[in-house]
């Protein structure tokens, strides 16, 4: 059980998918039920990881390693450390939530729809657990396809444009990334005489700086497009706006994290010199800060509810990347926590949009107003999501942002100074959105008869709410889980960081 | 010696003139006739090169066979209206230019290394010590080149079947 736990988690959705194939398309309820069951099962199984996960051990756990294509040095090599553990849990939970959320929303070709969701689930988990670079790449690409369809088939009016844009953007990036990977691959072959994609082996070769920079930029493009960082972000709003609710939830909550995760798992440890290269760090930090402010500003003028949330993720992800390239324990761990938080809160925000979209089939903010009168519970949930996203203390958002700010402050005080403005704007656009949609009078008669949250929708929100509060009030366990892996990472990038006089007092 | 040369030039002239005519005549029939001329010239060259068997083949198979086939087709698809239309397509001049360029390039090749092309002096006929040309051809054809010979048979079969399939109204 335990030694194959990762594989089990990885392939549970796939198994569900296989069974799904044998359910006739006509039995829609059965299909939905089954999809929900299998995703829930996936989540529950992933919880088993916590039982035996040893947070005092920095290396990878639950490791499985078999030859896959030996002649190319490709292995089926999976395992998790604290970082991937959190990511996997996030993925499984969000996957379940997303599937549950689309019970009523999707009635057109549900079989294919859920098949896509499950396939995507496997892909995403795969990205987070694979330690072989080619395996990683395969999963990375695998994720694209279902998302392409989710957007392109079940999406909004401009879905095709959005889908193709999403696909081309990310694909272009990942192809460049592949070149980078291959470079490492060859370097390793030159140095050690045999080809391998095993990251733990690739770790051994320290390439000259210029080469590292080259590879770093190749990776950077791939990851930055996924994140998305500032100049590469324009696929995001379109994709989000056009995607079905579940699609945007997964996109925001998990897919974007693949990019940041890529930075943490591959760019930094594999290319330590380049990662510490000042020009690179400066550029990325500046891009991140631009992203933070820019995303917030643009959200401020959005007329489309979903687009606003989409741009807000640009801003939030800016925090994450900034934290990573602060290159110190606080920055990195904060970034990881913030990724989880963003998954939770932005996921909730998109679900909130989805709930109203199901009822009214429009996302224009101007269409709404005074919903708090009609749907008080809905308003409460939205308020909660908004606050957690705006970084209200005692909710998850604050913990992440604050830790990142620590990191940024340590690295360069001005970064922190600029990043903080993001918090201000964050409050601004979210509150304004809230005011325009929830507060005021119900001036649109269409909104009068709207039903409040149904039990299922409560079930969708509940786990996220609980999680948000937990992280906000008692984040220590998460930091404990991250302590060791982050320490290793920092030690690799900045050897001797941990040496030096310790401050005793609290 | 000079006789050889004279014959060569005569046949060469035949060949080229025939070829040019073939390409330039309006009516397909005339082209066919001129083609025959050109082919005869080639046949003559075979003779000069001591390839009597090929000479025979050329006369019989080409001029006998193919030309009949051509003329046959020409009759079948009546070409008189085709003969009235203009004979050269729009790209004729471009094409000529291109071919000229090819010619020039080949000429350059020649300039480049005439040595490369002259392999050995034309050796005098070895007084046909070992039987006539035809025998030798037959010999080699059925021993060393048996395989291509067999393939050729299949090839011809395909040609037959193919032309039938294509030309016959209903199979």
């Amino acid at each position: 059980m335990n030694e194959h736990l990762i594989s089990i988690i990885l392939f549970t959705p796939l198994a569900g998918l296989l069974v799904l194939f044998f359910i006739p398309s006509s039995k829609k309820t059965l299909i939905k039920t089954w999809a929900n069951i299998s995703s829930l099962a996936g989540f529950l199984i992933s919880l088993l990881l916590l039982r035996t996960f040893d947070k005092n051990y920095g290396g990878f756990q639950f490791v499985e390693r078999f030859d896959w294509i030996p002649s190319l040095g490709i292995h089926y090599y999976v395992g998790i450390d604290g970082i991937s553990l959190l990511m996997v849990l996030l993925t499984t939970l969000i996957g379940f939530v997303a599937i549950l959320s689309s019970w009523e929303a999707i009635d057109d070709r549900p079989k294919t729809y859920y098949a896509m969701l499950l396939l995507q689930q496997t892909g995403m988990i795969g990205v987070f657990v694979s330690l072989d670079f080619m395996l990683f790449y395969v999963f990375w690409e695998l994720v694209l396809v279902p998302m392409y369809f989710l957007i392109g088939v079940w999406g909004g009016p401009r879905r095709l444009y959005a889908a193709i844009k999403f696909f081309l953007y990310t694909l272009a990036g990942s192809v460049l990334m592949l070149l980078g990977i291959l470079t490492l691959y060859f370097q390793h072959a030159e140095k050690f005489g045999y080809y391998t994609f095993d990251t733990s082996l690739l770790m051994r070769l320290d390439m000259p700086l210029h080469l590292q920079q080259w590879v770093f930029w190749a990776f950077f493009i791939g990851f930055a497009i996924k994140v998305p960082m500032f100049p590469f972000h324009t696929w995001l709003p379109d994709a989000h706006v056009e995607a079905p609710t579940a699609g945007s939830v997964i996109l925001a909550a998990v897919l974007l994290k693949m990019g940041t995760y890529g930075f943490i798992r591959f760019s930094l440890p594999l290319l330590p010199k380049a990662s510490m290269d000042q020009t690179i760090v400066q550029i990325i930090a500046v891009l991140s800060i631009i992203g933070i402010i820019y995303g917030a500003l643009v959200s401020l003028v959005q007329q489309d509810w979903k687009k606003l949330v989409a741009y807000s993720s640009v801003s939030h992800l800016g925090f994450c990347t900034l934290g990573i390239f602060a290159m110190n324990p606080n920055g990195i761990s904060g970034s990881i926590i913030q990724q989880i938080n963003h998954g939770i809160s932005t996921g909730m925000l998109f679900l909130v949009v989805g709930v109203i979209y199901e009822r009214r089939h429009t996302r224009l903010i101007s269409e709404y107003g005074g919903l708090a009168h009609v749907m008080p519970n809905y308003a409460k949930v939205f308020a909660f999501a908004m606050l957690s996203s705006a970084g209200m203390p005692l909710l998850n958002g604050f913990v992440g942002e604050f830790t990142i700010l620590q990191g940024a402050f340590e690295a360069n005080r001005w970064w922190a100074a600029f990043a903080v403005t993001g918090i201000i704007f964050g409050a601004a656009y979210l509150l304004w959105l809230y005011q325009r949609t929830m507060l005021g009078q119900v001036c649109n008669s269409k909104n009068l008869g709207l039903k409040d949250l149904s039990l299922r929708e409560w079930a969708v929100f509940a786990p996220l709410i609980v999680w948000a509060i937990w992280i906000g009030v008692y984040p220590k366990p998460y930091f404990d889980i991250l302590e060791k892996p982050v320490a290793q990472l920092v030690e690799r990038v900045r050897p001797g960081y941990y040496a030096g006089p310790q401050e005793a007092r609290r | 010696m000079w006789l050889d040369a004279t014959f060569f030039y005569v046949f060469a002239l035949m060949t080229l003139a025939g070829a040019v005519m073939t390409v330039t005549r309006n009516s397909a029939v005339h082209s066919a006739i001129w083609l025959i001329v050109s082919l005869l010239g080639v046949a003559g060259l075979y003779l000069l090169q001591r390839a009597e068997f090929l000479f025979a083949v050329q006369i019989v198979l080409y001029i006998g066979g193919i030309m009949v086939l051509f003329l046959f087709v020409i009759m079948l698809v009546n070409l008189d209206m085709a003969a009235k239309e203009k004979q050269f397509n729009g790209q004729a001049w471009v094409a000529l230019a291109c071919v000229a360029v090819v010619g020039l390039e080949l000429g350059y090749f020649w300039m480049k290394g005439p040595g490369a092309f002259k392999l050995a002096q034309p050796s005098l006929p070895k007084a046909m010590v070992m039987g006539g040309n035809t025998e030798r051809v037959g010999d080699v054809l059925f021993s060393t080149y048996l395989l291509p010979f067999e393939i050729a048979s299949v090839l011809l079969l395909v040609a037959v079947v193919g032309s039938v399939v294509m030309a016959k109204k209903r199979i």
């Binding site: 003028v301 606080n330 761990s333 009168h373 203390p393 604050f398 922190a416 929830m438 | -």
Partner: protein, 710 residues
């Protein structure tokens, strides 16, 4: 029982109340606000229209929520009593580690971890605060049961109110800046919720948002200050901060400390509505009056004062920052007071007066008289809360009318309200014997005498005092005296408020009188130390003050008497002037207005501050011209965020433009180009087989040519 170790319970009671309300409240108080909010013509105050029958369940609500606050008040009393009994007046309780950061390289290269406990600190300062918060809070809760009785969302109101008390207690009880920040943000949130309580009113929503966002600007400063503090001192826990500050040689980290202090002060200006971030407070009056009383007079707005007082050790080491604090405070005081002179909305007068009183407190902080600041905070909590509640009662009686010009001659109709407000006005005006006198006069004296102080600041303070007396009594005369100016319909309605409202008024009135007597000036030596409890009580917190007190003893007592007299005189002048202009010779008021036309208008329009923003928004833009601008203009008219709003709008519009046209454009463009490129390639394929053959030949030419040109 041991209250000291269970201080962590104190915030939890209100929290419990709040959760109860927000989760199951709707079932206790089944009232769907929707029907009041749908139709625009009911846009006004719903209080009079919300046809709402109170039930037993509702009674439960009005029992539970004030009860919770009462409980924590009693707990606080107990705790404070026990603290008083202790030898060293400080007690810390730590629940668990809340924020546990990773290793961090401090400025001096030492590695520290940012740890913030879920821990509580009870010392004289925080004990004063919790008593004020819970005590006044409780009274206002009681008052609200009467005031909000007919409102929709009764349970919601009390839920928010309790939540506020919870966060406020977190703020004052926290043992480190991070946890303080929790309360800090929390109260901001609650004020947002409560200001926007009548959320069907657009203005309410705007005001709430404005409050929150402006506060956020301050908070940004606060966060940075906190980070800087951690980076230099390696901790954000009050005790260790003070301790390491004492270890620190000021010269060593000179600039850093003042920067730190300044950043924290920026936070304070946001929360305590100091210039230039005061703009949100007047608008905040959109909230129900009890809210204005509790949050925007008594407690929340004083959080900034508390925080600065809390960081006194730091501010002492940063003299120039303290100077800035004093100046800002003084300026705010007179600036706000001047606006208050001419306002006609009763609540706005009080709002601006609050701003100016806060200014006083910051003056005190700036000159280094921390205990005085806290003292004024203490007294101000009483009389300003009283004033607000009183005005609430007036508005209640006037069935929602807030404009003083249509009031008058109410003193017989609503006697209790009148008497209590009378006392409060005397107190704020600084008539000797009432709470306000002691604190304010002490501030003025400190401004004069303290090393950090200066004569100018004193002068400003004095003028402000005059203005204060004037506008307060202008309010009184316009409201309660003269002849009635309201229409008959309202006139018929006027009635004294229910006991639930009047009793708190009376209690607060008593406090406004008695509150001051625990801090009489050192000058009145005949009273003995018993009457200077407040200063002595706070001594351990602002320990180093002792030195200054000593040194201040030998500056002439004569002067102090003189100044005291002067300020009293000033106060009385103000009152008389008001009486003259608004009671005995009402027409003079108009003449004065006419005489000082532009000045008057300027004041009436609050120095055009909001107009300046508007100018930046609209005129500037429309003059700036251009479609982008026009679009953005409309956005602004929609009511954007204030402050750097126009910049925000501008840049965001530009970025949007950049986004859609440049970045996105390149993407589309490239795909378009690719499509375009496909046509020339296709066009070659004309279907002319001889063209194909030609291409073939061209290929050959190329191949040969490659050889030729080689």
């Amino acid at each position: 029982m041991n209250f000291l170790d269970s201080i962590w319970l104190i915030p939890l009671f209100p929290l419990f109340g709040a959760l109860a309300m927000l989760l199951i409240g709707r079932f206790l108080d089944p009232q769907a606000p929707s029907e009041v909010a749908v139709s625009p013509d009911l846009a006004g105050e719903t209080r009079h229209h919300g046809h709402h029958h109170s039930g037993p369940m509702k009674f439960l609500v009005s029992l539970l929520c004030p009860g919770m606050v009462l409980v924590s008040f009693l707990f606080s009393l107990g705790a404070v009593a026990q603290l008083a009994g202790k030898a060293e007046k400080i007690h810390e309780v730590v629940q668990f580690t809340w924020l546990a950061g990773m290793p961090f390289h401090m400025a001096n290269g030492v590695i520290a971890r940012f740890t913030a406990d879920w821990g509580f600190l009870l010392d004289p300062l925080s004990s004063v605060m919790i008593l004020v918060v819970t005590g006044v809070g409780f009274l206002i809760h009681v008052y609200s049961t009467g005031y909000m009785a007919h409102d929709g969302g009764y349970y919601r109101f009390f839920g928010y109110l309790n939540l506020f008390v919870f966060f406020m207690l977190m703020l004052v009880l926290a043992n480190n800046y991070a946890l303080l920040f929790v309360g800090w943000e929390g109260v901001g949130l609650c004020s947002y919720l409560l200001i926007g309580f009548y959320f069907h009113k657009k203005s309410a929503g705007d005001a709430g948002k404005k409050a929150f966002v402006v506060n956020r600007i301050g908070d940004a400063g606060f966060i940075l200050g906190m980070l800087l503090m951690f980076a230099t001192l390696g901790s954000v826990r009050f005790l260790s901060v003070n301790e390491s500050l004492s270890r620190l040689s000021p010269e060593a980290t000179f600039g850093t400390l003042s920067a730190m202090a300044l950043l924290l002060f920026i936070g304070a200006t946001g929360k305590s509505a100091q210039f230039p971030l005061y703009v949100w407070l007047p608008d905040a009056m959109e909230g129900p009056t009890p809210v204005s009383a509790l949050i925007h007079a008594a407690t929340m707005v004083t959080a900034g004062v508390y925080m600065v007082a809390r960081s006194n050790a730091l501010f002492k080491l940063a003299p120039e920052t303290s100077m800035i604090v004093a100046v800002v405070g003084a300026f705010t005081a007179i600036f706000a007071a001047s606006i208050a002179l001419v306002q006609n909305d009763i609540k706005r007068v009080l709002a601006y007066s609050t701003v100016s009183q806060l200014g006083y407190m910051f003056v005190a902080l700036g000159v280094g008289a921390y205990w005085v600041a806290v003292f004024h905070l203490f007294t101000h909590a009483f009389f300003k809360a009283l004033l607000f509640l009183g005005s609430g009662s007036v508005i209640h009686a006037m069935s929602g009318e807030q404009d003083m010009r249509s009031m008058g001659a109410l003193k017989d109709k609503i006697p209790t309200t009148f008497r209590t407000m009378f006392i409060a006005s005397l107190a704020i005006a600084g008539i000797p014997g009432l709470a306000g006198f002691f604190s304010k006069d002490e501030i003025l004296w400190q401004a004069w005498s303290a090393p950090g102080g200066s004569k100018t600041i004193y002068a400003i303070g004095l003028i402000t005092a005059l203005m204060t007396a004037f506008y307060m009594w202008r309010l009184m005369f316009m409201t309660f005296y003269g002849k009635p100016r309201m229409d008959h319909h309202t006139a018929a309605h006027i009635h004294e408020s229910p006991a639930a409202m009047t009793i708190p008024l009376s209690v607060l009135a008593v406090l406004s009188i008695a509150g001051g007597w625990i801090g009489v000036p050192k000058l009145w030596s005949l009273f003995g130390d018993g009457f200077r409890t407040f200063e002595l009580w706070l001594e351990p917190v602002f320990a180093s003050e002792a030195a200054h007190v000593v040194e201040e003893a030998h500056s002439g007592t004569g002067t102090e008497w003189l100044l005291m007299g002067l300020s009293v005189g000033i106060a009385i002048c103000g009152i008389l002037l008001a009486r003259y202009m608004y009671l005995s010779r009402p027409e003079t008021a108009d003449r004065v207005q006419a005489a000082s036309g532009p000045l008057y208008k300027t004041l009436l329009n609050k120095w055009y501050v909001d107009e300046i923003y508007d100018f930046l928004f609209i005129n500037g833009m429309s003059k700036g011209g251009g479609r982008v601008m026009a679009r953005f203009d409309s956005l602004v008219v929609d009511g954007g965020v204030n402050g750097a709003g126009w910049l925000t709008r501008f840049s965001s519009t530009v970025t949007m433009w950049w986004d859609t046209w440049i970045v996105d454009g390149t993407v589309r463009g490239s795909s378009f180009l690719v499509k375009l490129a496909s046509y020339p390639v296709r066009i070659v394929q004309t279907g002319q087989l001889q063209l194909y053959a030609l291409a073939f030949v061209v290929g050959i030419i190329a191949a040969f040519g490659y050889f030729v040109t080689r």
